[in-house]
């Protein structure tokens, strides 16, 4: 299809593998140089988990559609009471059924 990709796709994938590994060690390499962590830096680091995961949830929750948004609400509430994987399963079953009813 393109002169660049099909010939060099293998090398691109290898380069992407190296790049991915570099991002995985970089945080550790940079941070391990600090002896004492400033409280604000630490507060920022502790915020990383929730901050990143929020960005993976919110845009799809708003843009994918009402059924999908409703499924997320159901799973969020279910998670408060039951194990996450079961909540996830309930959400998937609900979504598949809801979609098939809408499609009818």
């Amino acid at each position: 299809m393109s002169e660049f990709f099909n010939q060099e796709l293998t090398w691109l994938i290898i380069a992407l593998g190296v790049l991915t590994y570099l991002t995985r060690i970089l945080g550790d390499l940079v941070l391990s140089r600090f002896e004492n962590i400033h409280p604000r830096l630490e507060a920022g680091l502790n915020a990383i988990p929730a901050a990143v995961i929020t960005t993976l949830v919110v845009p799809p929750a708003i843009t994918k559609g009402p059924l999908e948004a409703l499924t997320l609400v159901i799973v969020a509430i279910a998670c408060l009471k039951i194990p996450p994987i079961i909540a996830l399963g309930i959400g998937l079953v609900f979504l598949v059924f809801a979609r098939s009813f809408i499609a009818l």
Partner: protein, 238 residues
Amino acid sequence: MNEEKSVFKTDIKDGLRDCVPIIFAATPVGAIFGAAAISAGFSWQEAMLASLAMYAGASQFVLLELYGFNLPAWSVLLAIFAVNFRHILYSASLANKFGSFSFVQKFTGLFLLTDPQWAVSETRHEKQGLRPAYYFSYGLLLYALWIVATAIGVIFGSLLADPSAYGFDFILPLYFLTILVGFRSRRKFYPIVIISGIASYALYLLIGPPWHISLGALCGVFAAALMPVSDEKGEVSK
């Protein structure tokens, strides 16, 4: 000695056990990747190489998406760097939790640092303490599953041609949501979620993916760092 041995055994057992829930989330995604790669024009070797070398679901899907656009290599690398940027944050937040790892264990282990690996490592550190046996039993099982799932997807590509029929297309947001709810007792949870959520959606509209992930998260991180620091109880990263 005996106690050490039983800690080791418990770590392995817990690592494998904690991997079970994610099997249901990761296996379909890996299989969908394999199938989608074939339909995007990858050879089976290229599809397998992506899973073996990158081992990063979101980035691999971005690669498939960009493959169709005939873009120069640097822009593909840049886009995937943006998606991968969260790995820098993950490895920074785990940096001082690898105390019981040797040099080789740490830098081998970091290859396995995926979203779920990082999430369970944080949880493990807060509870029983993070040790190599736990980290590697979880990580190697998940890596093996990812490879097998990709292979299944490559083989049965056509069977998963319409992943939305099974809700698989929405499994990632649902999965990430369950992780997020699990963090709700952490310090400053709600302000972080609200700020990152608004920022990521605004960036999603203004700049578009994949930047809303890295930049949106940075907004929440900065907000948390700028908020008053008090001697609250709760997790301390050291």
